[in-house]
């Protein structure tokens, strides 16, 4: 095992990795930007070093400085978490050059899978099904038109280096092909520095279903039961569950075996995820991309299999062979994850940075909170707005749903608005209960209905506001007369630390 692990990340995933290291008995080194001195990962890790100013490029992406800290502290391995440097092949190589283990797959796997075109070529050679489309990039608008006619409508125009919903254009009419080509090219260039673009068939009632794989340095690769990630808002996953309501045992095995083949195509030797797009109509599945890192939603797989993926990933990087075979992986019950964001769901999901002045996290049976929050934390404006992931397990999907609703109801974050109540409404919706949704569900169906929902507790809200106004006025009056404020320790009109507009 490693002597010391540097965690090149922040937020909840830095905490997750620290917990795994802690349980393995390996000391940890945190890095932080100047905006994150008060962050929880700085406080819980064994060591902590500032690596630069607030902007990520100067801190969490500052390879030179991070490697300096690794050398200084004697860390012999680096866990990159997700995002930031986690899929950066150059970083992995520079770690290797210094004799530091990058906790992730081999660099070839990162490079090949990091590009949509090369990854498609690689997995196609292993007979992993692809969305009908092209394996090369488009040369120009004319070429685009030619391929569009060959594949047939509806189509997706995609930037080869794209991801996270950026650099994608749906095309339903042939005459829109040239404009979509130009748009995808320019977004690819501006977001990813790469203008390569290709075309593929658009899958109807699309569901995003992915397979976790785990490999070691001895050639073993196994797969886990699928994760259903179709509840998305603007192409960003919002709620994930495992298993999927539309996958049966035979399909699970077929998808798992395809994922292992995809992983084998690059000699995969770590934790990774093979993403598929699945037609909700035909249940055909097609390779989308492979993420060569620990995924945000890995905990739901952990909950239904009892496997600590973060820990196994570290052990595998240390050279340990996998401690189980495919046959040892069994599926038990059902797990759901909600990504809690610092966003206002009733105000177009505007980010809500600010100070958390009160916090009560849900607890009790089979509730797992993966969080970087604490009472007093000032959520900075510089980074991703994800505050925590709430994960539950239940013996059945129905029980997992009722447990998630219960846990969301317990989760109290005071000072900033979060997406917690939004999650409760999605999870409580009829379509979710039926498992009847695709990746367009939130944007096209749920949100319009949600905006018009009734607000049943208006009377109580008015009473609460009026009593606080009364108490404020009484305090003021007593203050003017030189008296003492009323019995409560804090008077009601004091700011809760947040300026309201």
């Amino acid at each position: 095992m490693f002597k010391k692990i540097l965690i090149a990340n922040r937020g909840e995933i830095a905490i997750r990795v620290h917990r795994a290291c802690c349980e393995l008995g390996v000391p940890t080194v945190a890095i932080f930007s100047e905006a994150d001195r008060a962050a929880l990962h700085v406080r819980v890790c064994d060591e902590a070093y500032c690596v630069g100013p607030a902007p990520s490029r100067q801190s969490y992406l500052n390879i030179d400085r991070i490697l300096e800290v690794a050398k200084l502290t004697g860390a012999d391995a680096i866990h990159p978490g997700y995002g930031f440097l986690s899929e950066n092949a150059e970083f992995a190589e520079r770690c290797a050059a210094l004799g530091i283990t990058f906790i992730g797959p081999n660099t070839k796997a990162i490079r090949v899978m990091g590009n949509k075109t090369t990854s498609r070529v690689a997995v196609a050679e292993m007979n992993v099904p692809l969305v009908p489309g092209m394996k090369e990039n488009l040369r120009d608008e004319a070429h685009a038109m030619e391929w569009a006619e060959r594949i047939g409508l509806p189509l997706m125009m995609k930037a080869a280096a794209g991801g996270g919903g950026k650099g994608m254009r749906m095309v339903t009419r042939l005459q829109d092909v040239p404009a979509a080509f130009r748009a995808a090219q320019s977004e690819g260039l501006s977001f990813f520095g790469d203008g390569s673009v290709y075309l593929e068939r658009y899958v109807e009632s699309p569901r995003h279903i992915e397979i976790q794989v785990l490999g070691d340095k001895h050639g073993n690769i196994i797969y886990f039961p699928e994760r259903e990630c179709s509840i998305q808002r603007r192409h960003q996953k919002v709620i994930e569950e495992a298993p999927s309501t539309i996958v049966d045992e035979a399909m699970r095995r077929a998808m798992g075996e395809a994922a292992v083949k995809a992983a084998r195509s690059v000699g995969y030797d770590s934790a990774g995820t093979v993403e598929f797009i699945v037609s909700g109509k035909s249940r055909e599945f097609f390779f989308l991309e492979m993420n060569t890192r620990l995924q945000v939603e890995h905990p739901i797989t952990e909950m239904i299999t009892g496997v600590d993926l973060c820990k196994e990933m570290i052990k595998s990087a240390a050279g340990d062979p996998l401690p189980f075979t495919q046959g040892d992986i069994t599926l038990s019950g059902h797990a759901i994850e909600c990504r809690i964001y610092a966003e206002d769901p009733d105000n177009n999901f505007l980010p809500t940075p600010g100070k958390i002045v009160g916090l009560r996290v849900p607890g009790g049976p089979w509730v797992r909170d993966e969080s970087g929050m604490y009472e007093g934390l000032d959520v900075p404006i510089h980074y991703d707005p994800m505050l925590s992931k709430l994960v539950v397990w239940g013996s059945t999907r129905e029980r997992a749903i009722s447990r998630m609703l219960r846990a969301l109801g317990e989760y109290a974050v005071k000072g900033i608005k979060t997406t917690i109540p939004f999650h409760a409404r999605v999870i409580g919706s009829e379509a979710f209960a039926q498992g009847d949704f695709d990746t367009h569900y939130i944007d096209n169906h749920f949100r319009p209905a949600d905006a018009a929902r009734p607000m049943p507790h208006e009377d109580i809200a008015l009473i609460a506001a009026a009593i606080q106004a009364f108490r404020r006025d009484k305090d003021r009056a007593q203050h003017l007369m030189g008296g003492q404020p009323n019995g409560q320790e804090h008077s009601a009109w004091k700011s809760s630390g947040r300026v309201r507009r």
Partner: protein, 172 residues
């Protein structure tokens, strides 16, 4: 005390009386409620009303009559003003103009400013773009009008509530 509460343009007259410490009698229009009150954490209230237990998160600012109430997952923005003060305010408002002071809805960086003073804009037109937490957010004009002044500066950070720009209504 008697208050006028405004929630979503709906006005309610509320009378509050403290009958004993931490007990209130609240009349909401013609409905009356007995409230067993406690504030176990600052600005987090525990109300027992007719046996039912409510946990209410109230956000209040000293200098304002606006209360943000979070209750069972829903957020209510309520203005509560003492009755006499409210009547006065309504009289004054009758003479006021429709000038729009746009304030920043969040902390962030001013990415792009798309208008200049004197420019005509229409309701819904994007005036500037704010960036925070890797998200870009468009600030739109609430009315048809003319840009008065622009306080925001490109590349400069603003806090929640900072003035961004002013839109004057078109002359009647």
């Amino acid at each position: 005390m008697t208050y006028i509460a405004t929630y979503r343009d709906q006005i309610t007259r509320i009378q509050v009386k403290e009958t004993e410490p931490n007990r209130f009698r609240v009349a909401l229009g013609d409905k009356e409620f007995e409230v067993d009150f406690l504030e176990p954490q600052r600005n987090i209230l525990s109300l027992l009303i007719d046996g039912r237990s409510y946990e209410v998160d109230v956000d209040a600012v000293e200098t304002s009559d606006n209360f943000g109430v979070m209750l069972k997952g829903d957020h209510y923005e309520i203005e509560v003003v003492e009755e006499r003060k409210k009547k006065l305010a309504l009289k004054m408002a009758a003479g006021a103009s429709g000038r729009q002071d746009l304030k920043s809805p969040m902390a962030g960086n001013v990415k792009t400013i798309l208008v200049r003073p004197g420019e005509s804009v229409s309701a819904g037109q994007v005036l500037l773009i704010l960036e925070a937490m890797k998200m870009q957010n468009e600030i739109k004009s609430p009315i048809d009008g003319i840009i008065g002044s622009v306080t925001a500066r490109e590349g400069v950070t603003v806090s929640l509530g900072d003035p961004l720009c002013v839109v004057d209504p078109l002359p009647q």
